[in-house]
Structures are given as C-alpha cells and as structure tokens.
Amino acid sequence: MFAYITRRVLATVPLLVVALYLVHVMVSATTDPLADFRLCLPRCQDGFDQIVENYNLDVNLWLRPFTWFESALGGDLGRSESLGLPVTTILWDRGINTAMIAVPAFLVGSIVALLLSIYSARRPYTKGDYALTGLSFIGFAFPSFVMALVLQNLLAVQFENWFGVKPFNTGRKTGENFLELARDVFLPALTLIIVGVAADSRFGRASMIETLNQDYIRTARAKGVPEKTVVWKHALRNALIPLVTLWALNFSALLSGAVVTESIYSWPGLGPAFLTSIGEADVDLVLGIVIFSAVLTVAFNLVADVLYGILDPRIRFD
C-alpha cells in the first residue's frame, strides 16, 4: 500500500510541473503588469523597474517559470503583489477561512445527501421519492451565484436581525465568539450545502437503487436479515464505494475555495483571492492557489483510493 501511494504521488509530479509551467507562461502572456506604468514613463521609471524586478519581466517568457520553480523548491512560493503578503501566508490564512465554510458544508451536505438517497432508494417511484427527486432537479439547475443571491435576499430580508446580513455586509466579521462565527458561516455554508446535496443525492439515489436491486440483497432477505440491517449493512457498504470518489472530489474542490459563493458573501477565503490574483495578474498567487488545489485533489483522490480498497475487498494495491 505504501509503495502504491508513493507511486501515485510520484506519477503526478511531472503532470503538476507541466501544468504549473503552462499556467505561468499563460498568465505572463495574457496579462501586462506594466500597463499602468507605460503611460507615465519616464516619470515613474523607479516604479517601472520595481515591477520589472518583481515579475522577472527581463527574463524570457518561456524561461520565467524556472525562477519560480527554483524558489518554490526551497519552499518559497513568492510574494503576492496584489495582497502584499507572502503567498504561503495567504494560502494559510485564506485556507483556514475557506475551511471554516467548506468543512461544515461538506460534512452536513454529504450526510444529508446520503440520508435522502437512502430514503428515496427505499421507496423509488413513490410520492416521497418524486418530491425529493424534483427538488434535487431544481436545486441542481441553480447556478451557485443565483442560489447565493436568492438565499441572501430571502434570509437577509426575512431574518435580518438574526443573520445581520445585508448585502455588502456579509463575511467573516469576528473570530472570537463561536455563535457569531456560526452565524457568519451559516449562509455561505448553506448555499454550498443546497447546491451540493442536489447534485449528490441524485447520484447517491442511483447508486443505492442499483445496490438494492442486486442479487445479494435478495440473498440477505432470504436469510431473514431484518430490513434495517439489509439497508444499513449489506446495501450501504456497497453503495458507498462509488460515493467515496465523489466525496473526495467534492471535498477537495470545496477546500480549494468556492469562488462564486465566497465572493458573493464577501467571505475572505481562497475563492475571492483567486479572482483577485487573476484580475491583477498576480502570477505568484495564481500559481500558489493552483498548487494548493492540485495537491488537495491528489491527496483526496489518494484517500478515496485507500477507502475504496478498505470498502471493496476486490480492489488490490499492486
């Protein structure tokens, strides 16, 4: 198993290097950090030179990434020009903020989706199932920005005092009081939960229905296994196998920052930072976030593979 994990990690390194190289070239090629300075030359020669140095603009476009790789190997991911902080600091601080909404959103969302899937799968094509399927269809059709705006307006107007949210008055205001923090987390997390549950529960329902139709479920019933045990032991264990991969993807995506939702609720997570970095041609921050999300994706995929192997004895790591 250890050998398997090592092999998997090593296999992704060249891919990541190529991706980072291309991203670096792409960002450098599409954006011009000097745009503002060109107009005022030669008056602002000092600022111009400073930018040239910060962005290594005197180095050829195709060679520029190597400077970055060199320092990155030493653990230095550079400095964000737009936010004026070291990239590692930003990733850490913003990552924690993102995790504050990502972790509850993932946990609650996954559990709710699983419960709804089981509910639907146990009574397919009944009223209850149709109602849930209909709701998930509707939820799934909502782009997250529409969902976020609708929730914000609905809850901010209806329960304004409770949530204290006004448009442009959202975000993480304090970190001191748990209740206050929970209140600030609530709306962005709820948005992610609704959108996520809508997508996951349809997948979960299909997986659970397929499992409940398997021959071994009939065998279990023929043995006299109580229906509860049939569902929660015999079926669930099998239905979880495809879900684990989905969860890994979801969680790594959420932890890399929900760009739209965090931006709308002015949540100071990785998402808005990513938008800023793109808008400001902040190469180092762009690369930092790309690395961050790539590492998360690889890590969670590995976790999923390991769980896969634990759940399904047919999988072997070799």
């Binding site: 019933r221 023929a222 043995k223 006299g224 109580p226 015999h234 264990r237 399904d312 004895p313 047919r314």
Partner: protein
C-alpha cells in the same frame, strides 16, 4: 400420507406495470411433503421463480398477490413481516441461480454464513457460529474450509460459491430448501457436482427440496415429482415416471422432445417453435395453442382446466385423454 409441509392454494401473482398488470403466476396450487423433492420445470418467464419468491414473500411491495401459502398450517401470506422473517432462513431457505452475484462481495464467505446462523440462534456466540460455518463448508465439499471461510466471494470459483450458498442455506437445518436454478450459471461438469451436494444435503438433513429448473434432464435423476409450468399456469403435474413416460400434455412432450440426447439415439433436436405468450395480454383460450401441434378450434375458445388423470397426475389440455392413446407409441 403425511400432512404436507407446504400447501399452496390458488396462488396468483401480478406485477403492476404502466401497461397493466402482468400475470406472472395464475391460480397455481401444489403441495410439498416432508423430505420430498419437487421439481418445477418451465421456460424462463413461466412463473416458476416468481412462485418461489412468493412462497418466501420476497416479491416487491407493489406486487399483487392472492391465494394462500400454508407452511405447517401457518398461512405465510397473512403473517406479519417480523414473523415471516423468523421463518426465512430458518424453516425455509433459498439457493439462487447465479452464485457470482448472490453473495455480498464486501463480506467474507464465513461471515455471511455466521450471519445466517446468528440471525436464528440469538444465544450462540460468534465463535461457535464461526466453527459451525467451517463445519458446513466442509460438509458441502469446500476444501480447506477454515482458510476458505475467511476469504471473500471473489476468491471463490463459481462452483465453490454455489457450495457456499448451499452451506449458508442449510445452516439452520431448514425444513424446506428452495433451489432456484441452482446449476444454470455453472459449467456442465460443476453442475453435476453441485447436484450431488444437494442430494447429500437432503440425505443428511432430510429437508424437502423445491428444485426450480428449465432443464428436464436435471430433473430425471433427482426429483420425486415434477410440475410443469407454462405462461404463469401449471400445465402438468405428476410423478417422475408419469411425466417422462406417460405425459398427457403436448407442452411437456415438446419439452421432452427438445432435450438433447447424450447417447445420440435421437436423430435431430426438436426445439419448440415460437415464443411464450405475452403475460400482459395473454391470448384467449389455451396459452400454448399458437405453438401447439395438436391445437383444435376448442383451444382457441376455451382455456383448458387442469384435468385429474391419476392420483398424482393432472394435465391442462383439452386433448389429454387422446394423448393417453398416443402415449403408448410416443417416442420417449
């Protein structure tokens, strides 16, 4: 004659579908006596497996079901679910067609047998149940049972899995064992071995067996009585000799004709022409009429009743009496 172990009366099973109710079993009555092997024969879709699932009450909730299934004087169809569950696996156990899919892939074979034992022996320790599982695997001819019990189903071959299924089914000494096409999914050589295990089990435990199969050849050496089903109905029922040598039903005869003969005494195979009828919109009259070589005008107008021919022999055919004459000269 002893009291029947299982007495099925006027069993009718229908599946609702968008286009109407599909009649999967129509007015089927039969008995199984303790220690007896009853073979239920028919093409796929004839209702034989549905009958078995109805006896076990394993059909889905939306299924329409009527009639009665008396097991030791208890009507299974009227039993509350928790009491029915106590009977499943303890008094009536079932072996399914495809051993590749009938075992749960994520639990060890031993654990699945242990679960079956513990469900009906609440006071037994897990260790004792495990010992019993190993014994059972040994009994059905799984080599190295102790090691094999700790393995997962995918590490078993098809024949070994079916043996494990049998071990699981007999773990509570059931009075009735329902084997639904137990050998269909297996290689020919393995089929014989599995049938041998079933016979062994019957000798050792004395349980009655309801053997469901489409293969009349399999029936010849193993059953006491045979009942032939066609298009959801019972077509003929009788002792093994009555069915094989004195059949009074054209469908049974056609089935017998279609058995390949290993000795090669038959010059050609006679497959039954056409397909079984739609169960959604069954034709008027005898359901076998469109494929029957002996059909007459009456067959188109009237569904024949099951006619008693001898004590244990009955046939559903308007011309059952005429067939008695033909029987003497019929090619066996």
């Amino acid at each position: 004659m002893t009291a029947p172990l299982l007495k099925v009366d006027h069993l009718t099973v229908g599946f609702p579908s968008k286009a109407g109710v599909v009649g999967a079993v129509t007015d089927v009555s039969f008995e199984i006596h303790p220690g007896e092997v009853l073979a239920v024969v028919g093409e796929s879709g004839s209702g034989k497996s549905v009958t078995a699932l109805a006896v076990m009450r394993l059909h889905s909730k939306s299924t329409h079901i009527s009639g009665s299934v008396m097991f030791n004087d208890t009507d299974l169809l009227a039993l509350p679910e928790d009491q029915m569950r106590a009977i499943r696996g303890r008094d009536i156990a079932m072996i399914f067609q495809d051993p590749m899919t009938a075992l749960n892939p994520v639990f060890t074979v031993g654990m699945q047998i242990v679960e079956a034992i513990l469900l009906h022996h609440h006071d037994m320790t897990k260790q004792k149940a495990w010992e019993r599982a190993v014994e059972l695997l040994d009994m059905v001819g799984v080599p190295e049972p102790r090691r094999r019990a700790a393995q997962y189903p995918h590490e078993f071959s098809g024949g070994m899995r079916q043996r494990a299924m049998i071990a699981m089914a007999i773990s509570n000494d059931p009075k009735l064992l329902i084997a639904d096409e137990p050998t269909t999914a297996l290689d020919v050589t393995v089929q014989a071995q599995v049938m041998e295990v079933l016979h062994e089990v019957k000798r050792a435990t004395g349980s009655a067996i309801m053997l469901i199969t489409h293969d009349l050849g399999l029936v010849a050496g193993s059953a006491d009585r045979v009942q032939v089903m066609y298009a959801s109905r019972l077509f003929e029922t009788g002792s093994i000799d009555e069915i094989f040598y004195e059949s009074r039903n054209p469908y049974t005869r056609a089935l017998l004709d279609s058995i390949p003969d290993l000795e090669g005494t038959k010059d050609e195979l006679h497959p039954i022409p056409g397909n079984p009828p739609s169960l959604l919109r069954p034709p008027a009259g005898c359901p076998f009429r469109p494929r029957c070589s002996m059909a007459i005008e009456l067959c188109r107008e009237q569904t024949p009743a099951l006619i008693q021919i001898a004590n244990s022999h009955a046939s559903r055919c308007h011309r059952a009496d005429e067939l008695a004459v033909l029987a003497a000269g019929a090619p066996a």
